[in-house]
Symmetry: C2
Subunit: 209 residues, 2 copies
Amino acid sequence: MKYIKIILADDHDLLMDGIASLLHDVPQFKVLAKASDVLQAMDDIKALQPDLVITDISMGEKGGLELTRFIASEYPLIKVIVLSMHDDVSHIGTMIDAGANGYLLKNVRQQELQQAIITVMEGGQYVQQSLSTKFAKAMQQDKQEKPLLSPREIEILRLIALEYSTLEISERLFLSPHTVETHRKNIIRKTKVKSVVGLINFGRSNGIL
Amino acid sequence: MKYIKIILADDHDLLMDGIASLLHDVPQFKVLAKASDVLQAMDDIKALQPDLVITDISMGEKGGLELTRFIASEYPLIKVIVLSMHDDVSHIGTMIDAGANGYLLKNVRQQELQQAIITVMEGGQYVQQSLSTKFAKAMQQDKQEKPLLSPREIEILRLIALEYSTLEISERLFLSPHTVETHRKNIIRKTKVKSVVGLINFGRSNGIL
DNA sequence: CGTTGAATACCTGCTGCCGGGTATTTTGAT
DNA sequence: ATCAAAATACCCGGCAGCAGGTATTCAACG
């Protein structure tokens, strides 16, 4: 492989231009295209067949996740490195599950970015140093803990967050209000929060909402 | 003025490196330093006396705002350009009030960044093209509409979002529970939401939380 | 085949949220 | 000096949310 062909996909053009500029310093990195939305990125991938795509986790409407899944299913040979603003551990797992090979924060230094690209292109996975500790801890917990909330409970939690009352939820899901009550109480018990407000906050910080 | 001396302050090192790299293309731009937190930025400003500081609105703990105010009060001759992830109109006003001379989104293109720097250094104000329309509209609204929520109401909304009950809030603010009740009811009336859940969502989408 | 967890449904009782008022004081703007 | 808005405080009534149970059905897993 002579060059590592790279496509950038991020809705922050400045960042993309910046990354592109940084990558220029390494001769074997070749930035083929910059895409600022998911559709354009997909087109570029089809047309240019890159070796690596560097994308943002939150490109407009959660596009980074979609894009990663698209690449993983359609072009499994193409590597994906995800950049993120958030050090939110739950997002890392989601992206890795979706098929990302690397996960970096946007506060990463040039050197570590280059290291990450090399590692990923050699077939490895690269999670930013400052994150790997935190992530490893979360993974251990995952092995012990069960999913905490059942699918049905998550569904109801989402509806609660959309301002539906218990009665409205029961009508929407063709359930008895009692059942919805029970679910909500179970959610509150499991998450150990005090009120609906706590539920919203829990959902946000755990990537459910 | 031979060079335009620039200091970058942003906790996303990658972005800073990128910007620095972009600015290299213009010979009369000279990046003196990169600071990844507010204190370091202040030190650098004192020591190096730049002509321009480019900073992020959300550097860790809302540091961009602090930094801008610091510069405006201590070194009024130094220009400030603010970069932001959000196209949230409310933030623009805050930063301009704090003394920022330019406001750009991180999706700005290299060319517009350079243009913004030149405009600002010539004594002008520069708000990104794609924002100026929206901003102008918001300004017009501001002349008609009032801030919707009063400072006290915002304070209480924040506490509600932190899972405090009415009673707890009243104790915390040394108020009668009745007063807190009144405030909450006024907030709900003003924002036209149905419940606390709606309040949280309102707060999130309006940058209050 | 038995057990376990998820999903369903119901009951009681209480607290706090919420909608509907009214009213005083303080503050800011004109 | 005056007027408007914000902040403070109180009252009443209704119902939803929440805590604490109990119980049945069904699918999954060993």
